[in-house]
Symmetry: C2
Subunit: 332 residues, 2 copies
């Protein structure tokens, strides 16, 4: 039986961090054996917020791929590809835009909150930003993906893709695959500073490409229980940022750490040391794989080219179906 | 010296009529020798208002081409091509959409009035319709056109294209050609019913493909001076619809017709007969050329394929420049 196809990916806007690992990369490594996994490096979507800095994209695309390979994405199992090199995605976006009402986009809660996050008011929002869920529908459907792994907050986007697919199939012919959201608990890693999210712009991240020394330095900056002044004050793990990290990366020591923290028999400094060790233990094999590819950049380029080639072939198949359905395959 | 390039064209939404001839086709025939003329059959743009009837497009595309050849567009001089077969236009539309603010589109007076014309309220307008000036900018720039012949009412659209080009060139690199509007007096032919415009939906047109008998029948339905009850009542050419047509198609008889009409020495029926004769005199060579191509449909297909091939080659050249400028030509 043919494997079901998954579409997942990232906007290449900088190196990936532990938040990405916990939230999606670890899951992708697991899913790649069971599914036919397509991983999009969405460089065109990155332009929705970075159109004035496309010169960074080449490096960012390369580094995101390096991060993927580092965490254990296997290019023999998964298809890593670059959005901008698959023109059919742009064509599908245009086709879909003909029947998506502006109102659905304007009142979409996710667009609204993301617009706010990027500081766009109604006046500053670009046409491309307003339409990114349409372009996302093209990203998902061009390869006829069956499943899209998402967190609960992304379900409305997948719902819009499903609506677009149903509308297309009803208007023209049932050739598009209606994807399902593969909703998992997407654990979200708080920032080192206690902020709700790791985010490059807040400078509260640990990157997958950070050295052991940088990890140690970064963990040392993490905020802990603010009520704990002296090392032997009893701690409150439930309000401690570092404890959240321990739960994510050091689960086997949790009972002991919690007990000692509450008793005031372990200070924040040694507690952080155990965390640094645990994170570095996780990152060491990632670093090793990353290094192997980093010293052979041509192999990474080849992986990107091969994946993009396969994605492009799938796109051409879908486009032929779409043009047949729309009867705009005039002279094939 | 290289000829300047012109971009012009139509949405294929039905057969072309005398209004198109007077307003643009006659001018295109004149311009094709002096300029390198690209004529776009904008089938994707036709979807902005006809996305639920794409099955008509193939025939409409063919017939519009037949109309072009009929009026005397010479495929050895002009490049007639089909928008949907040039995917770079979709890609450029996506690139431009990243830096065009929604507000510029929403408050564009032409979009507003056209939305009203098509019966779109704010709720029903589609994302594609809202963005058609962006897609139009892609239509014009993909072939690096220098000039776009337009009526005064279309100047704001060209102004937006010029803005997009300047913004692109300033953001990335000066590779796009900033087009100029070639503003002519675009004579507008009133409808046979006295309506401001010939329009298929109003049923007040004479089509270039109408037979002499149909032309006679259509002209007979035309409204004239409503104050004229009897054939020998003095007429008022200045309020007569048919007189407007006489001015467009029968200019050499105008002094005589006007004198006789005012004197009541020519009735509306014989006056209309002279108009029918004049229109048929204009249409006869058009019919003849049209018929020649109609009986050899393969030659029309070849003209469309050749033109589209040339347009596609120009599109690829522009896309290479654009990708270089945006630095998203990662692995060329």
């Amino acid at each position: 039986m043919q494997k079901k196809r998954i579409l997942t990916g990232d906007r290449p806007t900088g190196p990936l961090h532990l938040g990405h690992y916990v939230g999606s990369l670890a899951n992708r490594v697991k899913l790649q054996t069971e599914y036919d996994e397509f991983i999009i490096i969405a460089d065109i979507q990155a332009l929705t917020t970075n159109f004035d800095h496309p010169e960074r994209l080449k490096e960012d695309v390369f580094n995101v791929c390096l991060d993927y390979l580092g965490v254990g994405i296997d290019p023999n199992l998964a298809t890593i590809f670059i959005q901008s090199q698959v023109p059919e995605i742009a064509e599908l976006t245009i086709f879909y835009s003909m029947f998506v009402p502006v109102s659905i986009l304007r009142y979409n809660p996710t667009i609204k909150s993301e617009a706010k996050q990027y500081g766009y008011d109604a006046k500053g929002m670009t046409y491309g930003f307003l339409g990114y869920p349409v372009s996302q529908a093209a990203d998902i459907t061009f390869c006829r993906a069956n499943l899209v792994p998402v967190g609960a907050d992304q379900v409305p986007h997948i719902e819009l893709t499903r609506k677009i697919v149903r509308r297309f199939n009803e208007l023209y012919a049932p050739v598009l695959v209606e994807p399902e959201a593969l909703v998992g608990s997407i654990p979200r890693l708080v920032g080192l500073d206690g902020n709700a999210k790791m985010s490059k712009s807040l400078g509260n991240c640990i990157y997958l490409s950070d050295s052991p020394e940088v990890v140690a330095k970064r963990v040392n900056t993490a905020v802990t229980d603010p009520a704990r002044i002296h090392a032997n004050d009893p701690g409150h793990p439930e309000v401690c940022n570092v404890f959240t990290y321990q739960k994510a990366f050091n689960v086997k020591f949790i009972p002991e750490l919690e007990k000692n923290c509450r008793a005031g028999t372990i200070g924040c400094v040694p507690c952080k040391k155990t965390l640094v060790a645990a994170i570095n233990e996780l990152l060491d094999p990632i670093r090793e794989r990353r290094k192997k590819y980093e010293t052979d950049p041509d192999s990474v380029t080849q992986i990107l080219l091969q994946g993009t080639k396969r994605a492009h072939e799938e796109a051409k198949k879908t486009m032929a179906l779409v043009r047949d359905a729309m009867k705009i395959n005039y002279y094939k």
